[in-house]
């Protein structure tokens, strides 16, 4: 206690014990002590310390909030054991839940939606597999097994599972860095399958351990930037197939791609370019119609399949492939072969596959969860992110054993699924069946499909990832967020998908850390004719109280920001002090810290508050705390900070603190005047 009462503060000291008597008296014995209360003091409320929760309870609560904030087991409460088992089964296999309640009325919508997304999936799969440098059939395989698993375990009704452009590209660029897909195709495939296994494993693990919140660390703004960059990058890459260029860069950055395009103008094939352009325009028109007239959405949904059929027929008839138009050629026929023995479970490729798989798996997860949440919000049903991760993870693990590569929720197909009126995950099953039929019987039909039309389909699909509206909204609402968005975009556009992703993660984390290390503080003033104190910058009518400085700290105080809070408060005191001495006002005697926003505090922060109190005492300013919360008061008590500062300096509201301090100041001025007269 000693250092708090420095030399030369007798007036304040006396006054302090005055209030102390008053408040303590008020609470403890009541009557005789009250005599010293200045009459104009309001009724004061004590800041309470909550009853201590036992350690086990506290830990239990913390675990619940961290891992089960959505209380997934709420239904299980107070149920007989048998019912609990049933609920558990329904929890693990949502298909039992919706399958049991399935009505024939839902069937029509599901079948139509399933057929529609299948018609979209088949051409996309063939194209996306090429983004991952795999043969087209692996794209089809990946639209067969993972959707089936998802349909059994997933909880989103609208998501459509299969290969997606961004993940395919990411996987392709990463794998190519390790192995050459043309000279070492078998090793390359094995590494891709291994990566898929680990992508599934990491997805499953995150979901099972209920760590799903890790994907929340990617901010919306950076995702918008990353997706836009990836969309444009992938579209530009398609210039290879679109123009029929043979010698094309394997880099994905804008400059390398443009160089490849312009340096190899002699390789351009005008027939290819013509086919590509024609179908690109065709696809854009169907897309426009689908967007413009909601009822005609099927026009845009069937566009890709129609393009493939038309283009294939055209090539087959004209045999234009003899003039340099590249075609898909032979696609292996038959259902997914087992690939469990192809996985690397030891050797150097194990580590590489794991590393690549983890990155691809996390990106895939981010995309799937974003889609799931979007549609769940639109239709107001609940999607358990962790369960989704388990479903997608198991889908990919099973996929890696059946020749599939990484699958996840597709933006474009899920939107079509939604518009086509899907009702349950049955659509994924319908789609799987169509893909299965394609694999068994229809692959020969794609022999004459020109690569250019696949490129057009990919371009028209991935340009949908560029969300101008979202970017504009971000620009409008928060310029710094926009810089983050732009950073991720430029990273993908000018360097690579991985660097863009790194930038996105880096910016997001930096933003969080800056947020917590540099919390906002505000000076408060009194709103006229009320007892309400608010930010002076927000409420220009609010008035300062002479001799009293009111600072609000808008964050918890703990190790990473306690120094800043101390220094910033002292700076407020200095700055205001200068203004006051310039205007000859009453110098600051009380600094009130409004603690309402301070959710919690730690030992470092308590030390900082002690230092703050000491520094203020040296300036003859008393530190006063208003409305410290439950957890804060508990820690103040445990660390004896309440005794250190003096219980009398804790108030329930800023208003009460100001009233007491003002009264004390008036008394002290009249005290001083009295003394001088003596």
């Amino acid at each position: 206690m000693a250092p708090r009462i420095a030399d030369g503060e007798d007036t304040e000291l006396q006054l302090k014990s005055n209030v102390s008597n008053n408040k303590l008296g008020d609470i403890e014995s009541g009557e005789d002590a009250k005599k010293s209360v200045p009459e104009n003091l309001p009724i004061l409320h004590k800041v309470l310390i909550p009853a201590r929760t036992p350690l086990v309870h506290g830990l239990k609560d913390a675990v619940k909030e961290i891992f089960f904030p959505d209380d997934p087991f709420q239904e299980f409460k107070n149920q007989p054991r048998k019912r609990k088992y049933l609920l558990g089964l329904l929890y693990v296999f949502p298909i039992l839940d919706w399958g049991w309640n399935y009505s024939i009325g839902d069937l029509k919508g599901d079948v139509i939606a399933g057929l529609t997304i299948a018609s979209l999936a088949v051409p996309q799969d063939i194209g996306y597999a090429k983004l991952a440098n795999l043969s087209p059939v692996h794209g089809l395989y990946s639209s067969f097994v993972p959707p089936l698993i998802y349909a059994a375990l997933g909880s989103s009704r609208h998501i459509a599972i299969g290969p997606v452009a961004v993940v395919s590209t990411l996987l392709g660029t990463q794998l190519r860095r390790e192995l050459n897909p043309i000279t070492q195709p078998e090793l390359y495939l094995r590494l891709a399958l291994t990566a898929t296994f680990f992508a599934g494993l990491v997805e499953f693990t995150i979901g099972f351990l209920r760590l799903g919140f890790v994907i929340d660390f990617l901010s919306h703004a950076t995702i918008v930037g990353f997706m836009a960059g990836a969309g444009i990058t992938i579209a530009l890459q398609q210039l290879k197939g679109f123009l029929g260029i043979t010698h094309f860069t394997t880099d994905t950055d804008f400059i390398s791609v443009m160089r490849s395009v312009w340096r190899n103008t002699d390789e351009w094939n005008w027939q290819t370019a013509l086919i590509g352009s024609f179908f690109l325009v065709f696809l854009f028109i169907t897309k426009y119609i689908g967007k413009r007239y909601k009822r005609l959405f099927w026009v845009s949904a069937l566009g890709p399949l129609a393009s493939v059929i038309l283009a294939t027929a055209f090539v087959k008839v004209t045999r234009i492939d003899r003039h340099g138009v590249k075609i898909v050629q032979h696609i292996h026929k038959g259902v997914n072969p087992s690939s469990i023995h192809e996985l690397f479970f030891h050797g150097t490729y194990l580590g590489k596959g794991a590393r690549i798989g983890v990155v691809a798996g996390l990106v895939a997860l981010t995309e799937a969860i974003a889609i799931g949440r979007t549609f769940a919000a639109l239709k107001d049903y609940h999607v358990d992110g962790n369960k989704e991760m388990i479903a997608i993870g198991l889908g990919n693990m099973a996929g890696s054993c059946t020749s599939c590569y990484v699958a996840t929720g597709s933006f474009s197909r899920s939107a079509v699924n939604y518009n086509a009126g899907c009702n349950t995950p049955l659509t994924n099953i319908v789609m799987s069946i169509v893909v299965l039929i394609t694999l068994i019987a229809l692959t020969p039909l794609f022999y004459y499909t020109p690569n250019a039309v696949l490129s057009s389909i990919i371009i028209s699909a991935v340009l949908g990832l560029v969300d101008f509206k979202a970017a504009f909204l971000i620009w409008k609402v928060d310029k710094i967020d926009f810089i983050a968005c732009l950073g991720a975009f430029l990273g993908v556009f000018f360097v690579s998908v991985e660097i863009g992703l790194l930038i996105a993660v880096g910016i997001s984390l930096t933003k969080i850390l800056l947020h917590v290390t540099r919390p906002h503080t505000a000076l408060l003033g009194k709103i006229p004719e009320t007892n309400i104190y608010r930010n002076l910058l927000q409420y220009p009518d609010a008035g300062r109280i002479p001799g009293i400085l009111i600072v609000r700290v808008d964050s918890s105080i703990y190790f990473c920001n306690s120094n800043y809070v101390r220094e910033r408060t002292l700076r407020w005191v200095n700055e205001e002090g200068e203004k006051i001495s310039a205007s000859n006002g009453i110098s600051i005697q009380y600094a009130i810290l409004e603690m309402s926003p301070v959710m919690t505090i730690d030992t470092t922060a308590i030390d900082s508050l002690k230092e703050l109190s000491n520094a203020l005492q040296k300036r003859h300013i008393q530190l006063v705390l208003a409305n410290p919360g439950a957890s804060v008061m508990e820690k103040f008590q445990l660390s004896s900070f309440i005794d250190y500062l003096g219980e009398e300096w804790f108030f329930l509201t800023v208003g009460e603190a100001v009233q007491v301090c003002s009264t004390l100041m008036k008394d002290s001025i009249s005290n001083l005047q009295e003394r001088r007269q003596l």
Copy 2:
């Protein structure tokens, strides 16, 4: 707007337009609209949106808060240009400032303190160099150049610069992983110097770019654990010299060290152990005296030097070194030789040196800043962390060119410096001069110094790093913090210093991220006979308001927690709804979100609030916001959220919101009753 007003809500809809008229009328035209105001409504205050700050201003403010929160250039404001230059010079070289004002009165204290810490530094330096696997003379070198540089540039008056135990050990273990110090001593030294250069460079860079807050990311609790673990680990390592063992493990974990000690009992040398034990006891006694009687602090300060003199004399006289007692032997004589050409600026060792240096530099910085802050707080002067980092960084960079290894602020010597009554950084210069004299003339005197006494000195010094009091306080105040502390301790103790450091950083970051992803929320109730709403858990007297749920979110809402906030609020609604339906109370019609603690918000969070509002509407509950802050209102406006929710649902205080909602509910009940009667 359409989805907000769902079916079946005609009563509420009508009521809403009622209030809307009222509030808007109040603000805009005034008179005629007021007729619809229920008479019992209070005066309502509008939530204001602050005037928009231009982008450049906003960025400038953000940069200032991030990089210059302590406003170091405050003095420069409104000064003539000439004075600004002078102030700039004083800012860069604090020595000019304190040197100019130096009074002869300060000199005595500084010289005594300087001599005292020199007497402590010389034996410690010789011992610590061995921790880094370097020859003793490098320890002495490092106590000569860096302290001189620091004295010119540093701003802490109490810090004593030189080699320290933890950093030496960290450097030693990391370097040994790359090179063998016994078989490749020259290469090893060169790598050590390179690491020192990069340690200095990273320290300088962080300070120069004013990124000093990065070291705030290490929480106090983990530092306590890490330091205790390092202290005990280093002490145990000293058993090698203490017992005279030759074959000793190079690992630092407890189990390896214990195994080395007990498997090599045949190598124990009883004479060595006797000397070690004797002086360890001697040192503990002097330490105890120094602690017990503050005036006799010099007893503990001179203990190490006295031990060295006594032990050396003893060996010299008895020639016990012929019986297996290991001695220091020859120490190179002369001032620091230049080592600028020894640094690796290319080749594989460049990267290795840089990596090791960055880690060592950051740990050194953490220790130095912690010391600087401690003493600055004790004596209430300001230490600019970033300037400290520049001073220490330049000290190490200069040191690496003059055969020094990483130096930083030493806990033990700084405390002695403080107790010995130092006044200015001149003590570091005095110490340097003593070390210089030692280097030039006195090194031969250490020839017969037994290693055992150096081990005893190190043990007695590093055990001071174990801060039981701090650990106990952490345990008392916050159990989860204590687990973090224990984690860092066990990591160092059972694995290695680096793993302990990694655990410390990992735990600290996890804690921050958990803090922001899982913000605290609380249900509020009304404190009787006031208009104040507080946490029901903290104030058991506070009462619930029938039909109204009040939730406070204790954090900013942004991408990493917006989903949680939405889900948690819905859970509050569900949980309370169940309780109410169990007790047959009035079902919830209004959910008030107290936004006071919400400092800022981003686009993701606004989307989440929209989703929350929709989900509540489906349950026939109106979302109401109380006291959104300046930045939040600005973003609400920019994103049109104010129009989305309706301006009438924004209130200045929870009290006003409750009053309006209660009035509306009464009206709605009487409205319903009237209708039924019709």
